[in-house]
């Protein structure tokens, strides 16, 4: 069994814990971290916007280097927390695309919710995570990074949809053909 664990800042601990719990001892575990280079490149662009400063001291390069360092620290901390054999996978690019690509051929992808976790619902997934869950080419284990909120955090159903459509009174329309009164015989 091949398990890919997507490690993202702030939520990776929950993914590692879940992987340790569900992956059988024989499973191979890949710890995946993706760096989105857009952030460093945007900082470079902001520096380029300061006209006349030359090319020395581009802070985008410093941000890129700091991102690489932070990724290594995160991978090391995750491997230590997992405390069983695993292999690090480093990727660079758009988060959602890279994670889906890295999950190709895997049996299980472990992902954490990363939006507002105060209530149950679709907002508990930020857009990249939503993309990954929707496009994953394998089974997905979607974990809560914190204790999941109570079921009553789901807002009450809106009044006009109080009854599911299939149980609702049939809309006013002509009776189905097989029960329809036979057309009056022609004179």
């Amino acid at each position: 069994m091949k398990v890919v664990v997507w490690l993202a800042e702030g939520t990776w601990q929950a993914c590692v814990d879940a992987a340790a719990e569900v992956a059988p001892p024989s499973a191979s575990i890949a710890l995946l971290h993706v760096i989105d280079p857009a952030l460093a490149s945007d900082v470079s662009d902001a520096f380029a916007g300061l006209v006349g400063r030359g090319t020395r001291g581009d802070p985008g390069a410093a941000v890129g280097a700091a991102a690489a360092r932070a990724a290594e620290q995160l991978l090391a901390a995750a491997a230590a927390r997992l405390d069983r054999p695993s292999s690090p996978v480093r990727r660079t690019g758009r988060l959602e695309r890279e994670v889906v690509a890295a999950a190709e051929g895997a049996d299980l992808l472990v992902v954490a919710r990363d939006g507002p976790v105060s209530r149950l619902g679709p907002r508990s997934l930020n857009p990249p995570t939503r993309f990954v869950v929707d496009h994953a080419p394998c089974a997905v284990l979607l974990v809560w990074p914190t204790a999941p909120p109570a079921v009553d955090t789901i807002p009450p159903p809106p009044p006009h949809k109080a009854t599911p459509p299939h149980k609702a009174a049939p809309p006013k329309k002509a009776a189905p053909p097989h029960k329809a009164a036979p057309p009056p015989p022609p004179h």
Binding site: D42, G49, L50, G52
Partner: protein, 413 residues
């Protein structure tokens, strides 16, 4: 016509920067051509450079001061402070970064925020287990939009400061309300735009307290007080900044294992080629102004500093800043509106807040960087552009209304 061509070449060179050559490579010869070719009489060019002298001198001094503050650990200290104050909450970290970025921009100018503070903020967020996007973008946005408060915060402010006729504290007093308005609008936009990133729960990691670089902080505070105190006595802020830089540099160089190298690094932080670029650009823009641009801009700008006039000037300034970059935009606009201090301040709001729209300073830079990026990697996300499209119009409006209120309340202007 030739003047337009000269400016176009200077700006295109600054955007493309072929082979990483400094921007002065084109600006200085272009200025020489403008003078030699008779587009600008030598006397006028000399007067322009004399007028720019104190500004460029200050620029060099403040760049060194920021470099030295970094060497003394001021930025690392600010990062540690932000990490501890945020207590692991991405939203609190954003709030603290807003405060720090606004303060650094106001005192040490926008270069310090973009070049020195941004990497520190990224590292701080990463160490705190927080997704760094909102905080990093906050630094780049506030470097521009947060530079309204003090004349020393932005090269554009320095170029226009003389035309306002205000004192150092008078300028700060007039711009305090617009500055606060911009900070409030930016903060609200950031909270909304990055709601998803800010909601990601983070597990606070223990932060080692960094020792406060008390000597450097005290020198910076004295320098800031010196700007305000010395200016009425006719001492240019450049001297105060230079004095602060010397006080910070001497112990650093004396204690360094390789004194010559440390001294060389301090000297190099003045970025002399940037200073030459500003001189060259000033002369080339003067050539253009003398050949029709002043008349064109005059016909476009309103004459009165009423609310509509302020809005129109700020809007025009923001537009120009996005077309040709904000330094040339300031050089073009300020002489035209110099008759009304209120309009000069409105123009500053435009050229300072406006660049966040295209975030790379100008449309041309944006297009060129897109072409560059398309070659080596897929184009970056458009998040930055969307953020600018939302925040810039709102900030401009809020700041201009705040300026209008400040002008009404003011007894100085």
């Amino acid at each position: 016509m030739w003047a337009v061509l000269l400016l176009a070449v200077v700006l295109a060179f600054a955007v493309v920067r072929p082979r990483g050559l400094p921007e002065a490579t084109a600006a200085v010869p272009a200025a020489a051509i403008a003078i030699g070719g008779g587009l600008v009489p030598w006397a006028a060019a000399r007067d322009e450079m004399i007028m720019l002298g104190p500004t460029v001198g200050f620029l060099a001094a403040i760049l060194v001061l920021a470099h030295l503050a970094d060497a003394w650990g001021v930025f690392a200290f600010a990062g540690g402070l932000a990490a501890r104050a945020s207590r692991g909450s991405p939203t609190r970290l954003l709030t603290v970064v807003f405060a720090i970025a606004a303060a650094v921009t106001a005192v040490l100018s926008l270069d310090a925020t973009v070049v020195l503070l941004t990497p520190v903020v990224f590292a701080t967020a990463a160490a705190a287990g927080v997704r760094a996007r909102p905080q990093v973008y906050a630094c780049t946005h506030l470097a521009n939009a947060g530079s309204l408060l003090l004349p020393v915060a932005n090269l554009t402010n320095l170029l226009a400061f003389g035309a306002t006729g205000l004192t150092f504290l008078g300028f700060a007093g007039m711009m305090a309300l617009p500055w606060l308005a911009v900070l409030a609008v930016e903060y609200a936009v950031f909270r909304w735009f990055f709601a998803g990133d800010l909601a990601t729960p983070a597990r606070p990691a223990p932060v080692e307290p960094a020792p406060a670089p008390r000597f450097a902080l005290a020198v910076l505070a004295l320098t800031l007080a010196g700007f305000a105190a010395a200016e009425p006595m006719g001492v240019a802020p450049a001297w105060i900044a230079a004095a602060g830089a010397v006080v910070l540099a001497v112990p650093l160089v004396v204690r360094a294992p390789d004194r010559r190298r440390t001294a060389w690094e301090v000297a190099r932080a003045t970025n002399p080629l940037f200073c030459f670029f500003v001189f060259g650009l000033g002369v080339v823009v003067l050539a253009l102004r003398r050949h029709g641009l002043d008349d064109l801009i005059t016909s476009l700008t309103p004459g009165h500093a009423d609310l509509l006039g302020l809005l129109a000037v700020a809007g025009l300034a923001a537009l120009l800043a996005n077309l040709v970059n904000n330094v040339p935009a300031t050089l073009v606009l300020v002489p035209v509106v110099a008759h009304s201090p209120g309009l000069v301040l409105a123009a500053l709001i435009g050229v300072n807040v406006g660049p966040n729209l295209t975030y790379v300073g100008s449309l041309a830079t944006l297009l060129w960087r897109r072409i560059l990026h398309a070659r080596d990697q897929p184009p970056a996300t458009s998040a930055f552009l969307r953020l600018g499209a939302i925040s810039v119009p709102a900030c401009l409006l809020a700041a201009v209304v705040a300026l209008w209120v400040a002008l009404k309340l003011s007894t100085v202007l």
